[in-house]
């Protein structure tokens, strides 16, 4: 199939970028989207042009490294699918594709389609660690977890931290990401000792990074390749207020868990 691509090219952080048009011929419908870009990059290199920078790692939809906005939609048109798992059969012959990086103040562009998602790492870091005794295994039945809780925690843990939620949100809010990470531990017994501290410090970091507020658009859930539900945002709000209201001196600390 033939395609016309308009790809955002930007040489470096803070520089002026713009769309560059590329005509692609003989694209196989069995290619993944990233393989299609690989082919384009080989063509660019062959004529000694600068290849398009884009992030990728596992290409199995599990690491969260890849991500670009395709025709206005983070990770493209297919529901619950990362860019690396998107295949060219989702597009029709002759299609015109506009490819851009995640757009958010907290995700500055490094080059072309690569953005700096360090803000997410700093939010996770702010959450600190959980206190767990290592060195010997506890008796398996000493920590009981209800099946619905285990399932919900698993749903939250499915978040791969790709940032599509931020890119999809008109406010560039990171609430879905933070909600998933907070709920994942908050639902499990191992996460209880630092539950209050964690939610307060992670939300504080989220605000400090310059992400916007949540005004219930729900775009994040629609774009999420792992279909994380906005129910977790409600859970995050409950946890946050509970922690703030019942705040103890310890819960006010800014450096995460104090195992």
């Amino acid at each position: 199939m033939h395609l016309t691509l308009h790809v955002w090219r930007q040489r470096g952080p803070g520089l002026l970028g713009g769309f560059v048009r590329y005509a692609m011929t003989d694209v196989s419908p069995d290619m993944s989207f990233l393989e299609m870009l690989d082919v384009l990059n080989q063509q660019l290199l062959a004529r000694k042009d600068d290849p398009i920078a884009f992030d990728h790692d596992c290409r199995e939809g599990i690491c969260g490294a890849c991500g670009m906005v395709i025709n206005g939609r983070p990770h493209g048109p297919q529901r619950a699918t990362t860019t690396c798992q998107l295949h060219m059969r989702s597009f029709s012959h002759g299609a015109e594709l506009w490819i851009e990086p995640w757009r958010a103040r907290a995700f500055p562009v490094i080059k072309d389609l690569v953005v700096d998602r360090g803000a997410f790492d700093r939010i996770i870091q702010a959450g600190g660690f959980i206190t767990a005794r290592t060195g010997s295994a506890p008796e398996a039945n000493s920590l009981l977890v209800r099946k619905p809780d285990a399932d919900l925690a698993m749903d939250a843990a499915a978040c791969i931290g790709c940032g599509a939620c931020v890119a999809a949100c008109p406010n560039a809010s990171a609430m879905l990401f933070v909600a998933a990470k907070v709920s994942h531990l908050g639902l499990l017994p191992q996460g209880q000792p630092e539950r209050d501290t964690r939610v307060v410090t992670m939300v504080a970091q989220m605000d400090a990074e310059g992400f916007g507020a949540c005004t219930n658009h729900g775009e994040c859930m629609a774009a999420c390749p792992k279909e994380i539900s906005i129910d977790f945002i409600a859970q995050l709000n409950r946890d946050y207020w509970k922690a703030v209201v019942s705040r103890t001196p310890q819960a006010a600390r800014k450096d995460g868990g104090d195992g």
């Binding site: 690989d38 000694k48 600068d50 920078a53 199995e60 939809g61 798992q85 295949h87």
Partner: protein, 357 residues
């Protein structure tokens, strides 16, 4: 796809060569469930080295399925499992994998059997570590799958998880703490001669890569190297092929440093340069793998030397001569690595030949 699928999927190919009928039109008696036939007691759960070799074998015979590339595929069929357990049970067990497969191929495994083919996805072995998980460099620990400690010539399903847990949960809490209690960390100083030396090396490597004359892309070299490894150091190997591979890797490496085209600059994000650095490492690593495979004159786990097999085509070990771990010391690029033998002593459970028949 994940190996766990073999718990409920049945693997088969058509009995006839070049049978291009769609799977549902091939009647039961014209299907060869070759793993169940060859290994009645283990069937589809035969270890991955055996299952891989048999898949390669039936495809090499011309009975592989799927379009293009000479039918490099065998069916992994859930029809019987769905009939036996019902669709919801299969969806609960493998739903995410089925979805992943459908996304890649555009086919629904609930309706059409999956097509699979073995491929390497990690290398076995890893960095040598002592019992405390410290490498040969004082204070540098290698944990998880990066070290060699828990897996030998075969890597079993879930070994990533197992080793991550075992190392991180049970061993490191004792050994790292002990090290830190004794270590007196020196001041970290970028003016240190050791640091300056390595910095010089890295700068020089980047300069050379960017200065090469540039007739072939990094990707082209990567593919060529992959082809050599796939053909000569893959699911089965022999001495002649391995020697040839070692020669070809050396020649390819020389060509790489002379002729690669990287482009761009060293100061910006340059993914082509990152890739070049990795491929440069892969040459050394590929060479080492071939050396090791050539040295080990037996068949053991995934290391299958064609010269050492039983009349039924099963792996033939030689515990007398090769009952050791081969730890190879890097002697420099293009130089023969130095062998350190670490004997395998079995005290409680003794080595035996296992049969999957």
């Amino acid at each position: 796809m994940s190996e766990s699928l073999r718990n409920d999927g049945r693997i088969w190919v058509p009995k006839k060569k070049g049978d291009t009928r769609p799977p549902h039109q091939i009647p039961e008696e014209e299907r060869d469930y070759y793993l169940e036939r060859l290994y009645p007691s283990y069937g589809n759960l035969a270890p991955r080295d055996i299952a891989s070799r048999r898949a390669k074998e039936v495809c090499d015979e011309g009975r592989g399925v799927g379009p293009g590339r000479g039918g490099h595929g065998v069916y992994l069929d859930f029809r019987d499992a769905i009939a036996r357990l019902g669709r919801p049970v299969i969806a609960e067990r493998y739903g995410n994998l089925f979805e992943m497969y459908q996304r890649i191929t555009g086919e629904d495994p609930f309706q059409v059997p999956m097509r699979i083919y073995p491929a390497p996805h990690y290398t076995m072995g890893g960095l040598w570590v002592d019992y405390n998980l410290m490498t040969t460099l004082d204070g540098l620990y290698a944990i998880g799958e990066a070290n060699f400690s828990d897996h030998g010539a075969n890597r079993l399903g879930a070994s990533a998880l197992m080793q991550g847990l075992a190392d991180g949960y049970f061993i490191l809490p004792y050994t790292i703490g002990d090290y830190l209690a004794h270590a007196k960390p020196a001041k970290v100083d970028p003016q240190h001669p050791g640091f300056r030396h390595v910095q010089g090396e890295v700068d020089e490597q980047v300069r050379r890569l960017l200065a090469a004359s540039g007739r072939k892309t990094v990707d082209a070299f990567h593919r060529e190297l992959g082809r050599v490894m796939w053909d000569k150091c893959g699911m089965s190997r022999n001495a002649a092929g391995l020697k040839e591979a070692i020669g070809r890797i050396g020649a390819l490496r020389d060509e790489f440093w002379r002729d690669v085209y990287v482009g761009g600059r060293g100061e910006d994000l340059n993914q082509s340069l990152e890739h070049a650095g990795r491929v440069a490492d892969f040459f050394e690593f590929a060479e080492l793998m071939c050396h090791d495979a050539l040295h080990r004159e037996e068949s053991c786990g995934c290391h299958f030397r064609e010269e050492y097999q039983t009349p039924e085509g099963e792996a033939k070990r030689d515990d007398e001569r090769f009952g050791y771990v081969a730890a190879w010391e890097f002697a420099g690029v293009g130089k023969e690595p130095v062998l350190h033998k670490e004997p395998l002593a079995f005290e409680a459970v003794h080595l035996a030949q296992r049969s999957y028949k």
